[in-house]
């Protein structure tokens, strides 16, 4: 399975992905971007942006890989801590405060969403946890359990012939490229995740977790209090199967859109997990965002390489899968995107794009 993913990733990278293929037919959307949005005090650094989201007041929340993942030497095992932080900014990008200081499960930021009640949900890849903070910053719900300790491998093999797969695997896009899958303690059905990637809610407040890019290819559904309801999905390429569930979005009718990264498609399910439809043409879908207007659109970030320098764009898609247009390409300059792992589209034409390899959030304004 991993081998398959690796091959897929490599070929996508070499061929410059589907973005290039689509280039001739997909309209370019005109846009401006502010790449210098977030302003932090001198001792606070935003690193790789796992997730960005706005609340109803326009406040910006950023869950970012920054500082250091630490190992703590125990008597018989090695434990880990740190590596990610949660920051709050005002609508103009001015730093306001930090939330979740030194919490147990802030290790490898992978996503962030703000729900309709302005709760902030963080998704952590290595803690395999989804944590809900209320608007005061208190922890009100924890889904999943952090693996207890680090698995230590024997010494590295001799020099030479390191497979390209080992090099290609990296964060952001997640599993494509062969990121090792198994975290100890993970993968049990219920609220035990394996590198979860995203969270979404329906109008009743039910919680849907994309789980994820580790060993589990499923979507797990919980009620608003965190009680497990059901799950669906398995590993594969058939309808209802996934090859890395990287992102979720739910439309006003309660349909669930899942970014099936390795299969390079979006699958659509009803609220009970019954497969409804699927569409492709959006590259390797890495982040999703559903707009909230009367006519809903889906923004899809395509990430074709983990350096963020070769193959990327963001698509605007109708809910039937028809691509409206696209904007942006890979790179480090303003209006370029370095592994866009997160999109906020609370305002349909003024997006926030969280980037992993460029350590920033860009505010994108689409021109009408």
């Amino acid at each position: 399975m991993r081998r398959f993913l690796t091959a897929l990733f490599v070929s996508a990278t070499l061929a410059q992905g589907t973005g290039t293929l689509a280039q001739g037919t997909v309209p370019e959307l005109a846009f401006d971007a502010n790449a210098d949005l977030l302003r932090t005090p001198a001792n606070i650094f935003v690193g790789e942006v796992g997730g960005v989201g706005r609340n109803s007041q326009g406040r910006i929340f950023v869950y970012t890989r920054t500082g250091h993942p630490y190992a703590t030497l125990g008597d018989n095992r090695t434990f880990y801590r740190g590596g990610s932080r949660l920051f709050e900014f005002d609508a103009s990008g001015k730093f306001l405060r930090e939330l979740g200081q030194d919490v147990y499960g802030f290790n490898t930021a992978f996503g962030l969403r703000v729900d309709p009640q302005d709760n902030v949900w963080t998704i952590d890849q290595s803690a395999s946890q989804v944590v809900k903070f209320d608007s005061q910053g208190r922890v009100v719900l924890v889904l999943g359990r952090k693996p207890e300790a680090i698995a230590v491998r024997p010494a590295a093999p001799p020099a030479g012939g390191a497979p390209a797969a080992a090099a290609g695997g990296a964060a952001g896009g997640g599993r494509a490229g062969g990121a090792p899958a198994l975290l100890p303690g993970s993968g049990i059905p219920g609220s035990s995740f394996s590198q979860p990637t995203d969270v979404a809610w329906d109008r009743a407040g039910n919680i849907y977790i994309a789980d994820g890019v580790g060993t589990t290819n499923r979507i797990a559904k919980f009620d608003k209090d965190g009680k497990f309801i059901r799950q669906w999905g398995s590993t594969g390429a058939e309808p209802g199967q996934f090859n890395g569930v990287k992102a979720l979005a739910i439309d006003a009718q309660g349909n669930v859109y899942a970014a099936d990264l390795g299969n390079k498609r979006i699958q659509v399910f009803d609220a009970d997990g019954t497969f409804k439809s699927q569409f492709t043409g959006v590259g390797m879908p890495t982040a999703l965002c559903m707009t909230t207007g009367p006519t809903q659109y889906l923004y899809v970030s395509h990430v074709g390489d983990q350096s963020g320098m070769d193959d990327a764009t963001i698509y605007k898609v109708q809910l039937d899968g028809k691509v409206v247009g696209r904007f942006g390409s890979a790179g480090k300059l303003p209006k370029e995107f370095g592994v866009a792992n997160s999109i906020d589209c609370r305002n349909e034409n003024e997006l926030l794009i969280g980037e992993m390899s460029n350590w920033r959030v860009q505010k994108v304004t689409l021109k009408k």
């Binding site: 993942p69 590596g83 090099a167 090792p180």
Partner: protein
């Protein structure tokens, strides 16, 4: 047989624990002879930290156009400090950013941006003079990979990827703002990027031929855009042109841990440029090697030797494993030294050159 392998393996691990400096097994005596000695003096106790502020292993040192000095060092954490031109600690830059894990070098570009080269995260982090992050190159490995498969000592892999390094060692800039990276311990190449961080070219494999490297450890450019690589394991400075074609080897100055071309990063000025090369006392401070290492060579850009100064040791004015040199002013050098957790300010007296009594 199996048991024997196991023992051998354990011994290897032990060696790698006590001697983490990479593939350089031993520092060599420089082959150049009859090298004049340049008198030098140290400015005593130049760097002054406030109480409670300590530097650890001083890996990198660089000045900006205003004379401020940056030291990138390994303390409790890897940290980047700024000092005034008088050597007084003024501030810290980049604390707890995601790119700092294990310092290796620091350079300042022509716009006074500060570039930290970190071999723990395989990243370059470019800071504006005010300390904001402007750009990064390279990506820190996904922590998830580490957590499920914790790396051991690590090995040379030679992956030669466009945007990922293998314990890269140093960075330099030409007058157009192109970026040159020496990479490194686990790769063996020089990589060129444009000023926007976009990959242009990479050359090098592991070996001792031309355009091959064995731990390219330090890198510098001259105003013409030529690139000087401290090819440490091969006991030579390898000179490349701006397109990374091979030009020359300077094989007679020992194992170059640090190379520096005087004159600063630009803009180009009419001052004559010199190349400084340190045949550093190894980082494990072997007593015997102190007798024939530690000296720094002053060279013409064509490789001819002007003179040398210093020797391995921990007394002021001796060099305790010079890891980086700043030579913006060719007569006032700063040395970052691993072994005595220090940096020094050194004044040269070029007019007083006299023949060496030992070589």
């Amino acid at each position: 047989m199996k048991r024997w392998f196991g023992l051998g393996f354990a011994a290897c691990m032990l060696v790698s624990l006590v001697q983490p400096g990479g593939p350089v097994a031993a520092q060599n005596r420089a082959t150049a002879t009859n090298v004049p000695v340049i008198p030098h003096e140290v400015v005593p106790d130049f760097f002054k930290n406030a109480p409670g502020i300590y530097t650890g292993e001083n890996m990198g040192i660089a000045t900006n156009s205003k004379g401020n000095i940056y030291i990138y060092h390994r303390a409790y954490e890897t940290r980047l400090f700024e000092y005034s031109p008088q050597g007084v600690f003024t501030r810290e830059i980049g604390r707890n950013n995601y790119g700092f894990a294990f310092a290796h070098s620091v350079r300042v570009d022509a716009q006074d941006n500060i570039w930290a080269v970190d071999e723990g995260t395989d990243m370059l982090v470019k800071f504006a003079p005010d300390g904001r992050v402007l750009m990064t190159i390279g990506r820190r490995e996904d922590p998830v990979r580490m957590l499920v498969n914790m790396p051991g000592a690590g090995v040379y892999h030679g992956r030669n990827e466009k945007y990922k390094f293998g314990r890269q060692t140093d960075v330099a800039f030409d007058q157009q703002g192109n970026i040159f990276v020496s990479d490194g311990y686990f790769d063996a190449r020089v990589v060129k990027y444009d000023k926007n961080g976009r990959f242009v070219k990479a050359v090098g494999t592991r070996g001792n031929g031309n355009l091959q490297f064995n731990t390219p450890h330090s890198i510098a450019t001259d105003f013409q855009g030529n690139v000087y690589v401290g090819d440490r394991g091969n006991q030579r400075v390898q000179v490349l042109d701006n397109e990374l074609n091979w030009k020359a080897n300077y094989p007679n100055v020992g194992n170059p841990w640090a190379v520096c071309v005087s004159g600063g990063p630009g803009p180009k000025n009419p001052g004559k440029q010199y190349l400084y090369v340190s045949n550093s006392w190894p980082d494990s401070a072997p007593a015997a090697a102190a007798e024939f290492t530690g000296e720094i060579y002053k060279m013409e850009l064509d490789g001819s030797i002007v003179g040398k100064f210093g020797r391995g040791g921990k007394a002021p004015g001796e060099f305790a494993t010079t890891h980086q040199i700043d030579c913006r002013d060719p007569d006032v050098l700063y040395t970052a030294e691993i072994n005595d957790w220090r940096s020094q300010k050194i004044r040269l007296k070029p007019a007083a050159t006299r023949p060496s009594s030992t070589n």
